[in-house]
Each structure stands twice: as structure tokens, then as C-alpha cells.
């Protein structure tokens, strides 16, 4: 009977397994706030860059629009940045609401958004690595 009682108590107190408590909920909420801020700042920065490109006397966008290759790269970059901004914003919203409302579904969605962000970031980091590798061998070749 004692064993059964301990098991039931353990289950009720949820001593096994991880959970969101007071101390880590504060850290998660802060992380959510920072990620949303990054998303908002990135949107503002992209909007400003597009605006400057449009009103600039050099007409960057008009010149670039003529080059198919440049346009494909630009659209691909926008898609990647868009996905990053979306996942960061969603992570921020879902995680904050999950912690505040103690909502298991939103917490799951928030973790999923963070995973999506990490996957897209991994692609960017891999591309940056290839670029570093190219630059590294270029530098070594020129200095020899």
C-alpha cells in the first residue's frame, strides 16, 4: 500500500520529468521577448532597405530587376529571412502565451517554431561555412 501511495503522490507532484516552473518560466519569457524583438527589428530593417532602394537616385531595384540570376538569389534570400522572422515571431508569441496560460499545446508549438528556426539557421550557417572555406583557400593560395 505504501508503494502504491508513493507512486500516486509522485505522479501528482510530477517529480519525474521536466516541467516549466517559476524560475525557468522567467528565462523562457525573456527569450521569447528577445526573439520577438529580433523579428520586429529585422522586418523594420528590411522595409527600410527596400524603401531606400526604391527612392535612391541609383534605382538599385530597377537595375537588379533586369538580372534574372540576381533576382532568383534575392527571392531565395527573402524566403529564408521570411521563414526565420516568422519562426522567431511565432516562437516568441507561443512561448509567452504558453508560459502565461500554462498551455501545453502552445508550448509544443513554440518548441516546434524554435526547431524550424534552428533548421533554417543551419542551412544559412552551412552556406556561410562553404563561403568561409572558399575564402580560406583563396587567402592561403594568394599568400603562398
Amino acid at each position: 500500500m505504501n508503494d502504491n501511495f508513493n507512486e500516486v503522490t509522485k505522479d501528482l507532484l510530477n517529480e519525474d520529468g521536466l516541467r516549466i516552473d517559476e524560475s525557468n518560466s522567467k528565462e523562457l519569457k525573456d527569450a521569447a521577448t528577445w526573439s520577438r524583438s529580433i523579428a520586429i527589428l529585422t522586418i523594420v530593417f528590411i522595409a527600410l532597405a527596400l524603401l531606400i532602394s526604391l527612392i535612391s537616385p541609383l534605382r538599385y531595384l530597377t537595375v537588379l530587376a533586369g538580372e534574372t540570376y540576381v533576382m532568383v538569389v534575392a527571392v531565395a534570400c527573402l524566403a529564408v529571412v521570411g521563414t526565420i522572422v516568422y519562426s522567431l515571431n511565432q516562437f516568441g508569441n507561443n512561448m509567452r502565451n504558453a508560459v502565461d496560460g500554462e498551455d501545453q499545446d502552445l508550448f509544443e508549438k513554440g518548441a516546434g517554431n524554435l526547431k524550424l528556426y534552428m533548421i533554417v539557421l543551419c542551412i544559412c550557417v552551412a552556406l556561410s561555412f562553404i563561403s568561409s572555406l572558399y575564402s580560406f583557400f583563396n587567402t592561403i593560395n594568394t599568400s603562398l
Binding site: L41, E108, L121
Partner: protein
């Protein structure tokens, strides 16, 4: 003696890291590890390339090159801190999931917060640098 409880009797325990969330977190550990390892290797390569470039005799005679070097060093330091935060997040989360360690989970949450904070600082620096460069080019 049979002990039974209804849902209302249960103590309030909040959000749990179980089931689908645990699987997502395990996948998250894998992706963050890959990210941080590639990041560290990239940083190492950049550092070596930087040293090779900066060691050229004529490099330090030019003020523009000196400014470029300072910016590269700041960027390197920030990237290093970001990668360390990501690596620590991955390590602590892995530990937390393996041992159901609540303290490690708290540390992981702290590291992801630091990661986003440093990322924000880096974006602000990039934006300021882009604006300053744009203004300086416009004044020339």
C-alpha cells in the same frame, strides 16, 4: 485501501516536457549542436584567414584596413559568444532530457535567452554599421 483522485484533486503542475514536446526538444538538441559546431569551425577558418591577411606588411599602413580589422574583431567576438551560448544550450538541454534534470533545463533556458540577446546586439551593430557606411558613402 484504494486511493483514487479526480482531476480536481490533482495538484497544479503547469506545462510538462513530455511526449511530443520531448521529441521536438531532442530534435532541437541535434540541430543546435550541428549549428554550433559548424559555427565554431567557420569562426576558426575566418580567424586563420584574418591572420594571414593582416600579417601582410603593408596592411597596417592603411587606416581603412585598421578600421576593417577592428570591425572584424568585434564581429568575431560576438559570433563566438553567440556560438558558445548555442553550444551550452544544446549541452544543457541534452543533459536535462537525459536525466530529467530540472536545474539543467533552467540553465538551458538561460542560455537560449543569452543567445537571443547577443543576436539582437549583433543585429543592432550590423544595422548601425550599414547606416553609417551608407551615410559616409553618400557624403563622398
Amino acid at each position: 485501501m484504494d486511493i483514487s483522485f479526480s482531476d480536481e484533486d490533482k495538484l497544479h503542475t503547469g506545462v510538462e516536457v513530455e511526449g511530443a514536446v520531448r521529441e521536438t526538444m531532442q530534435s532541437l538538441v541535434k540541430w543546435t549542436s550541428i549549428n554550433s559546431i559548424i559555427g565554431f569551425v567557420s569562426l576558426g577558418l575566418s580567424l586563420i584567414s584574418g591572420f594571414v591577411t593582416y600579417n601582410r606588411a603593408s596592411f597596417f599602413n592603411d587606416t581603412e584596413n585598421m578600421i576593417l580589422m577592428a570591425i572584424s574583431l568585434i564581429s568575431f567576438a560576438l559570433n563566438l559568444i553567440i556560438n558558445i551560448s548555442l553550444f551550452n544550450f544544446s549541452r544543457q538541454l541534452k543533459l536535462a532530457l537525459a536525466n530529467d534534470d530540472q536545474q539543467a533545463f533552467e540553465h538551458a533556458a538561460g542560455h537560449i535567452k543569452n543567445y537571443f540577446r547577443m543576436f539582437m546586439i549583433m543585429i543592432i551593430i550590423v544595422v548601425v554599421f550599414a547606416v553609417v557606411t551608407g551615410v559616409m558613402n553618400g557624403m563622398k
